[in-house]
Point group: D2
Chain length 357, copies 4
């Protein structure tokens, strides 16, 4: 069962609420003898950390991770790795006024329906704060995969403004606050998001994750397909409403010849002349780059009032003050990378189990 | 682990190759005392069965299902339900010429890379024939859900031709060979697909699955989210490259107010004024219709030659004769329904476990 | 979840009732490229088959196994292996008179309490007939383990008569109908069991399973311990009430020095000077022989009348006619071997996953 | 997979080493709206805590548990419950001299074989310290089961001295440092254990766990049998070498009539006239008391020297100083209760899932 765990052999269990004392995760199944310290994890958390530009929530927390088990004298021991981050800037008073109302688009109404109890402090368990632990686990997953597997994410659309793919430059991604791979879109998004933010509104985004260097043969048909696991992993990120592999929904409009990735030989190695498949056939990696995209809806918490109801069954207009990202999709980029890393690490171990090293 | 099983409490394990003696599945966890016989399953298999129009494969098999265990005197006993379908029209000779070559877009190259052995008879395990067992399991899942939960799928796009949603009519879906909900698109698709077929080509499609009557509160955050499980279930269907919930990828272009589904009271019941969320918030069902879409790529097996390689590492042009659907997306509609039914049945049982009945 | 499945990476799912049309299992996760045919499985089924002496049930069935998937051209393909045995001698009329009563010591009363429905034909799902599929799966597990791992079981006690361990001879085990490793006990057991049978009674037994050649390092602490998995596997066999590893319950009476298995070096290899631990320390195999024992209660179905009740809540005396083993423990020996083989195969794959090959 | 987790619907994952900064667990699947605070857990930890008599290790730690998530305003929320205990008295210097040697009977040699790395500080992950988290999780499991289910353990044997069952008195269990249900055995054990301790030796023990008030119908055949899960749970406790249900190994010597638990009607309720079965038939609870026993070997760490080897492959004599229980079986009693509680809570939720509340 998997209420709060994902993966099978590289298995991650997360816990914690946005305004509890701490959040954490347990990574079980990590192979032994891998060098690991907090310094391997912290940089990834720093990329996701809020408060780094005006375009993300102003909640300011160091998000400093501690390894509490599973590492001895600088290497993993094969036992579960426990990671903990203290919540240092909860300010739960900010949320007092929404304790009693349901924010449209937010999970609080359904948690209340499902559990009959609700941790109203900033979203509780459903808060995007939980994704910090995904990023931390992802850093360990990268260790399992090794340096030859490069996993990177970029934003390709914010609201009505999409990038020009012909200008794609991975180096650009780390130079701007949007993880944009297109330098020319940066001022456009800055202006657009500033206006969104000033209007008390929010906006959606699309993120693309690309993996280079993943070995061929990962993925376990029929119900452990690599693309099915990627779909679940990305869809499980807060606010995601769609997932694509390779050319995604565009394939519905293709004919067979348009879709076929022809194969040729380069020496004794099979190469593909295109990658409509996004690196996955029949649920198994081909050795080409693995390409996935996911769409994130606009932040539900915003200053614009929305008709809603409260726990007493009264109709109200909800305005969410607090400190919220105008485009929650931006910080989803490192989360998408982390989920991809975890899925691949899991499948690498699964492949080893059934097929040897 | 889940190589060939899906679901947790309503757990389905399938087995069999397209050209072996039989295919089957084991459904474990089905509640006891539900009326069940082959007559409850067969109609769903008949909807998926090939050979019913010129637009699907001409392979002709009765696909007659037998219940081998788990049912006694007409009711389920709580023990595993074993279902078997004999393969009666294998004609494996048709596939002799492709035993040695890899069909672009098809899984055979990656099975060979992964396993070092390949059942080349019609796709072996990776054949869409496996989906017959999904449909059979889905019929049992419907029993678990009860008559109040209505799960229906329709094609909304074939190649470049999409339906007009304003003409949506569920009754129309069963009157045409395309599961089209729009009577006016039927002649368009007939003409279009006939041309595709005559050209030895194939084409993609998009299917929409809609669930009405599902209770609110299904779904288990964080890693058992209903939408994440739907995404995995639909992505695991052969040839699927994208999955959306509700408005899907369109949300990337929305602002917060455009995306918000306002809530109002109807008597003492919460109602939503729109359904951009597709019936799921925070991974939990809201009680609104659950809406999902998935994109199916064009059939990889076609008469149009594609550059490829063979097992000896020689470059060849592949032409796939056999008997193949020009648009494999058509028969994916009942499969999509079945996967949705299985996911919901699983979550209904999971909800009962944690929250009582 | 694991209602009807066991193992994680070498995963076995069984189905079927004693008097349904057939029984079967699906083995998922078996590595590819292993030579496998029915001829590798049948000999193990033949050892367990009833009707081979007067000391086992007179039900006569060939128990002929068919492989329905997962094997192509004589080797495993990495896809699920489906095995089926037809039930050819059900004679369900024999059981008509017990359809309405509960046999003391038998599962039928609790199945009725749990499920509110009962397949009364010969025990239905709870019948020891299900163990045929364990034996079949065990034969595949042996393939995974390879020829260097030798797994053998022997009866060490029937009723009040225990073997003399100083006469232990593995070759003797296959020469008598009791799997006895002590030739001198055979006539004693023959006379004893004949008397039990004539009296319409039944009797218990203890079985010992010994594994030689298993590699050190198998087992995954803390909750995937090899001994914990063996305990569950053996306890899941019908009628088992106790499981021991190594010296088992005797250790409660030991002092530390009595229990310690001293270690010495033989060349550059660690050797143990005794094996009180039964080859497992901290849940991980040491490389010594793995030794487990399990106790099987007397067959509950017997001619001796026992006070009981029926479904109408009336008090009755139950006499079970049918065809039953006077000592069901005898046929449990090959089942114990098979469960041990499955557990070890699962842990071998788990070890490979986390630690490489 | 289950390296460090157990249970399916009531799922416990533990982490931590004996001499790391802290140990902890995550309990996932706990139903919502149960009253819970640290005060519900601490008393059970206090019963297991070392340093309470001269017969347990002199390590002195408060073992104060903190709830870090999953509880809000005094009730469970349905989200994962994270529990943490700081390690305050590690004194890892005590273990310096054994860092390089393998203690016979202890897991350190196999951890080194398996993982190629070893946390030598006091047993690391294999230390019985981990069982504190089992006890903590067990306290939550009791909440799930409710007050009507009473789970108690008692020691029935230490070394060569067994209790007199005719004097069994549950009240006595909490009045002596041995969890002995027989007042007359207490002075015997005191004298015996004092001698063992002074001799630098250690000794084994047998613990019996009895559950009263558990509902009939718990347990999921065939591979989720209640007794199989109990066997695994108890065998997974450190140093356990045998597990019995009901009359256990004695059944091997019984005839059918001796073993049969006759059934009679009391009003409209079925009652059993004996309980050889230990409350479980066919893997399902009967409603009678559930009775299990497990044997714990003598503490491996002791002052008596034992021939062993070190990491350099040299033969050495090992003497373990540190602070160790002369009879680790004593403190296993509350651990046995806790494991039983967790197994039952898991099966209660599983039963609800398949059968309704």
């Amino acid at each position: 069962m998997s209420h709060n765990s994902f993966g099978h052999l590289f298995r991650v269990t997360t816990w914690g609420e946005s305004h509890g004392p701490s959040i954490g995760c347990v990574v079980d199944g990590c192979p032994p003898r891998l060098a690991l310290s907090e310094a391997d994890i912290q940089p990834f958390l720093d990329r996701r950390r809020p408060g780094q530009s005006v375009f993300t929530t102003q909640r300011r927390e160091p998000d400093e991770v501690r390894i509490c088990s599973g590492v001895f004298e600088g290497v993993t021991t094969g036992t579960p790795i426990s990671l903990i981050i203290e919540n240092t800037d909860q300010r739960s008073k900010d949320y007092g006024e929404i304790a009693n109302t349901y924010r449209p688009g937010h999970a609080d109404v359904v948690y209340d329906i499902k559990y009959g109890v609700r941790d109203y402090r900033g979203g509780g368990r459903s808060s995007a704060r939980e994704t910090a632990m995904r990023v931390a686990a992802g850093a360990i997953a990268r260790r399992v995969l090794g340096g030859g597997v490069v996993i990177r994410a970029a934003l390709v659309q914010i609201g009505e403004h999409a990038i020009d793919r012909s200008r794609w430059d991975w180096d650009e991604v780390n130079r701007n606050p949007f993880f944009a791979p297109d330098a020319a879109i940066v001022p456009v998004w800055e202006q657009y998001l500033s206006a969104i933010r000033k209007a008390g509104s929010s906006v959606g985004a699309t993120i693309e994750v690309v993996v280079e260097g993943a070995p061929a043969g990962l993925g376990a048909p029929i119900y452990g397909k690599l693309d099915a696991d990627i779909a679940a992993a990305l869809m499980s990120i807060n606010a995601v409403k769609g997932v694509e592999i390779g050319d995604g929904f565009a394939v519905a409009g293709y004919t067979g010849p348009q879709n076929a990735d022809a194969m040729r030989m380069h020496g004794n190695r099979i190469v593909f002349e295109s990658n409509h498949a996004g690196g996955i056939l029949g649920g198994i990696s081909t050795g080409q780059p693995i390409v996935a995209r996911f769409a994130v809806k606009p932040t539900s918490s915003m200053l614009t009032p929305v008709p809603s109801v409260n726990r007493q069954g009264e109709e109200v207009d909800v305005v969410t003050k607090g400190r919220h990202d105008p485009c929650v999709g931006i910080r989803a980029a490192p989360v998408g990378e982390a989920m991809m890393a975890c899925v691949l690490a899991d499948h690498l171990l699964r492949h080893r189990a059934q097929n040897g090293a």
